[in-house]
């Protein structure tokens, strides 16, 4: 047993990491599906979209042959509409709300249709939203992730000159660095960011870290307002013996490596345990399997009913051959020569409802042991507690506290996205960015 890279041929890797939800191959396919939409009024799909895309309208526009209009409808509500069409857990959002579900019929493939029109816009570089003339107002946005970019775009549209500061080498945030490669490719992420910034008025400065290269005070002095879309950081620790062993990795780092180097160079174990059952856990498990791990076991401390991922995400893991163990929590990682050898788990049972509103996991006293050589932690990310703690920004458990109009306790400093909500979907971050921008426009008097 060993953690190795280069387990599979380049060809196989290419196949395994290709688009998991392929687009329509023919325009006719999109039109056929678009015509299935019955054009609901006060549509449930729109209501369950955090950015409130007018779904019936954009689908109608596909069926009428107004693809530009369709893409514009989407971008008016969600400038990352293309990315969201690839990464949104739509079965619990728009598609989950589609009225066809109530007839036990397949919902309209809203995400695929959204991808259809917006990808055309990206490819053809359609200039669908026009920036107002510059007002001379300047706003700093920290973090070029979905929240920051959505905020920057909305501000720029309204004539604000925006500077975005990003600590990584590339913009895009979680889209670029934290989502499984078979959902979005690095090339796509660049294309999407380029499309967003093509309206002008947005300067992205990468490799600049808040608290190190710049301070909030400086930003407050140089800009009319500041938006913090700094996201979340490291994965929550397991706090069990053996966590320091070689072979225990953080899911975010694992996916980051996958997204930043050749698949063939990313090392994975023979027998991998993934702790957690969120979207990132699913991504880590399926990507491990697709890198060539022989056995992947997902471990979750509650039962299937309480899982944070969606059924269809779980299906991907199952179809990839990942084992799932419900009601099990890691107790100890046993090593040999400093390397992971075994994972001991507590068998759990469900107890009372906890603060999350779900049935809580309770130890049964029984344990079992898995032979593994790699443990991937996907137990949720922690906020940048240290960074936020050092500032005078009010926070609760490391999450920035904002008012109803997205403002922090410091006047002129606004925030949104994972840094505020602790880690939700890309589409939630986009809406937060829009909300922040609207509040900032009021604040700076536009």
């Amino acid at each position: 047993m060993a953690i190795e890279s280069n387990r599979l041929s380049e060809e196989v890797l290419k196949d395994f990491f290709s688009d998991i939800h392929p687009p329509f191959e023919y325009d006719e396919g999109a039109v056929i599906e678009a015509n299935r939409c019955i054009n609901c009024y006060d549509a449930p799909c729109t209501k369950l979209c955090p950015t409130h895309i007018d779904v019936p309208l954009f689908i109608k526009q596909i069926s009428s042959g107004n693809i530009k209009g369709s893409a514009r409808t989407i971008f008016l509500s969600n400038i990352m509409g293309t990315g969201c069409s690839k990464v949104c857990p739509v079965e619990k959002l728009c598609e989950g709300a589609c009225v066809f579900n109530l007839l036990k019929e397949e919902p309209v493939p809203i995400a695929k249709l959204q991808r259809y029109s917006t990808e055309k816009a990206l490819k053809e570089k359609w200039n669908l939203l026009i920036r107002k003339e510059s007002t001379g107002k300047k706003v700093a946005v920290v973090g070029a992730g979905p929240a920051g970019l959505a905020c920057a775009h909305e501000l720029s549209l309204n004539g604000v000159d925006v500077t975005v500061f990003e600590k990584e080498e590339k913009p895009g945030g979680l889209m670029t660095y934290g989502i499984a490669a078979y959902k979005v490719t690095p090339e796509f992420c660049k294309e999407e960011v380029d499309y967003i910034t093509a309206i002008g008025g947005i300067e992205i400065r990468t490799g600049i870290t808040l608290g190190k290269d710049i301070t909030l005070r400086e930003l407050r002095e140089k800009f009319d307002a500041v938006f913090l879309g700094i996201g979340v950081g490291k994965t929550r620790g397991l706090k069990i013996p053996g966590e320091e062993l070689e072979g225990v990795v953080d899911a975010i780092n694992f996916i980051y490596n996958l997204r930043t180097s050749d698949y063939s160079k990313v090392a994975v174990g023979d027998k991998v345990a993934v702790i957690g059952m969120g979207m990132t856990a699913i991504d880590a498990a399926t990507q491990s399997k697709r890198l060539g791990a022989k056995e992947v076991t997902m471990i979750y401390r509650r039962s299937e009913n309480e899982k944070p991922c969606t059924d269809s995400q779980l299906d991907i893991a199952r179809l990839d051959g990942c084992h799932i163990i419900w009601l099990a929590a890691p107790k100890e990682i046993i090593g040999e020569n400093g390397k992971v050898k075994k994972l001991v788990c507590n068998k759990m049972k469900l107890g009372d409802i906890d603060s999350s509103g779900r049935l809580s996991p309770v130890e049964t006293g029984e344990t079992f042991t898995l032979e593994v050589d790699m443990v991937i932690k996907a137990t949720g990310q922690l906020p940048y507690e240290e960074l936020i703690g050092k500032s005078s920004i009010r926070a609760r458990e490391g999450k920035i506290v904002i008012s109803e109009n997205s403002e922090t306790n410091i006047p002129g400093v606004f925030a949104g996205g994972d840094a505020v909500n602790g880690g939700k979907e890309v589409v939630n971050a986009v809406q937060d960015g829009k909300n922040g921008a609207k509040a900032i426009l009021t604040y700076i008097g536009i």
Binding site: V31, I32, A34, N35, I38, N39, C40, Y41, D42, A43, P44, C45, K47, L48, S63, A97, V99, F100, L102, L103
Partner: protein, 422 residues
């Protein structure tokens, strides 16, 4: 099993479905294939004066992803030599003696031309003649086709010429490009026509190519009005047929129903409004002759369910149910009801009622599903909500009479009853 055998003006066919005069019946190859597929008879594509066709010839109207709700053509009558057609007609009749063979005719507008053509066709042994007074393009400019069908005097005169030599039943095919088909219908009945058939196609422009700005179909950058047909014209055909079936003079002779028949249900409707048999063209042009199977099978099953032995048993049964507006019962009142168990919360009933009708539906906001309820006191019973509802049986219309007795508009006025105030 019900009996689908048909006899129209004594012309027998194993079922009441004939192929209408048109491209599917213009040569032996097609007609043999049609008879092999099970069609009861054909009306051979119009023979007559010399013509030349153009390219292209057809165009269509698509609707919300449904291809070909309507169809049109600018093709003329047969462009093949008359003798070849007559030879093929004879041959087909030899091969399929149990099928109906009617030949459509359009001669030049003189007595001799008509006499000559009728005689030649009769020599083939054909069972009947159909006079094409309906073609709305190409022939019109030469004073033929629909030009004849729009003028009672000319139409009657030609029928008289034909009847002078006709030895087999004569059906006159009428054009719908008139405000009423009754005057021409009366004229040809009085001139001795044995039967009527309608509708021919309706003058139309199906659309325009938004790149070239040329209307469809495009013939070297120009177009002309084409004859509209297909599912979209069915309601118009039913209306015209009803007016003839209800008229005291035109009702004397049988009607062959034509116009957008696509399914067995359409066919049953044509018969219920007085058609003695049916002619189909566009539906086979869009799917092939194989559709005859379900046309017959569906009608047969329906007849069995309803207990009809023969087509004649239900011919015209809906005619008394089409009346004049002033005879409708004003005291009849229905109110919509939404079955909440079946509702899928699409909101279509609400928005159409709210925007375009009587604001009779109440919306109770929910996340993500709203609840919709009828405000019974506001509902006028218009059916709109039920029509747009995507779930069968979800919205029903329930009777809540305004008064126990029948009351029509004339009585209503005479009694000085109050008008609505909404």
């Amino acid at each position: 099993m019900a009996n689908l055998q048909s006899s129209f003006l004594g012309i027998k066919s194993p079922n009441p479905f004939w192929l209408a005069s048109g491209p599917p019946t213009d040569k032996i190859t097609n007609v043999i294939r049609a008879f092999e597929a099970g069609w009861g008879g054909v009306v051979w594509k119009t023979l007559g004066t010399q013509i030349k066709n153009v390219s292209s010839r057809y165009s269509a109207l698509n609707l919300n992803g449904k291809k070909i709700a309507g169809f049109n053509n600018i093709e003329l009558i047969s462009d093949r030599p008359l003798d070849l057609n007559l030879q093929e007609i004879t041959e087909v009749m030899r091969l399929f003696p149990d099928r109906a063979m009617v030949v459509s005719l359009m001669a030049d507008n003189d007595r001799n031309s008509w006499h000559e053509l009728v005689k030649k066709v009769q020599d083939t042994g054909a069972h009947g003649l159909e006079l094409n007074f309906g073609c709305p393009h190409g022939m019109v400019e030469r004073g033929m086709g629909a030009t004849v069908g729009q003028d009672p005097e000319i139409a009657g005169m030609i029928v008289e010429w034909v009847m002078e030599v006709a030895e087999i039943p004569v059906i006159t095919k009428l054009t719908p490009n008139v405000h009423s088909v009754v005057p021409v219908g009366r004229a040809v009945v009085e001139a001795g026509s044995n039967g009527l058939s309608l509708i021919n196609t309706i003058q139309s422009v199906t659309g325009i190519d938004l790149d070239t700005l040329v209307p469809n179909p495009n013939v070297a950058g120009k177009s002309v009005f084409g004859g509209y047909c297909g599912p979209a014209v069915k309601p118009i055909a039913l209306k015209f047929i009803t007016t003839l079936a209800q008229d005291e003079i035109t009702c004397r002779i049988p009607i062959s129903g034509i116009g957008g028949i696509t399914t067995w249900k359409d066919a049953v409707e044509f018969i219920l409004l007085g058609s003695g048999n049916l002619q189909v063209c566009t539906a086979v042009m869009l799917s092939g002759f194989r559709i005859i199977r379900d046309l017959c099978d569906g009608m047969n099953n329906w007849m069995d369910e309803k207990g009809y032995q023969n087509v004649a048993d239900f011919t015209g049964l809906s005619l008394p149910k089409l009346t004049k507006w002033e005879e409708l019962d004003i005291n009849y009142h229905i109110v919509a009801r939404i079955n909440q168990e079946k509702c899928i919360h699409c909101g279509l009933c609400y928005i159409v009622c709210e925007d375009t009708s009587h604001q009779s539906i109440f919306k109770e906001d929910g996340h993500p599903y709203n609840t919709y309820k009828i405000k019974e006191e506001e509902c006028v019973g218009c059916n709109l909500c039920k029509i747009v509802c995507p779930v069968d049986g979800c919205i029903t219309m329930n009777e809540q009479r305004k008064g126990a007795d029948y009351l029509n508009w004339k009585e209503f006025q005479r009694m000085g009853l109050p008008l609505n105030n909404h």
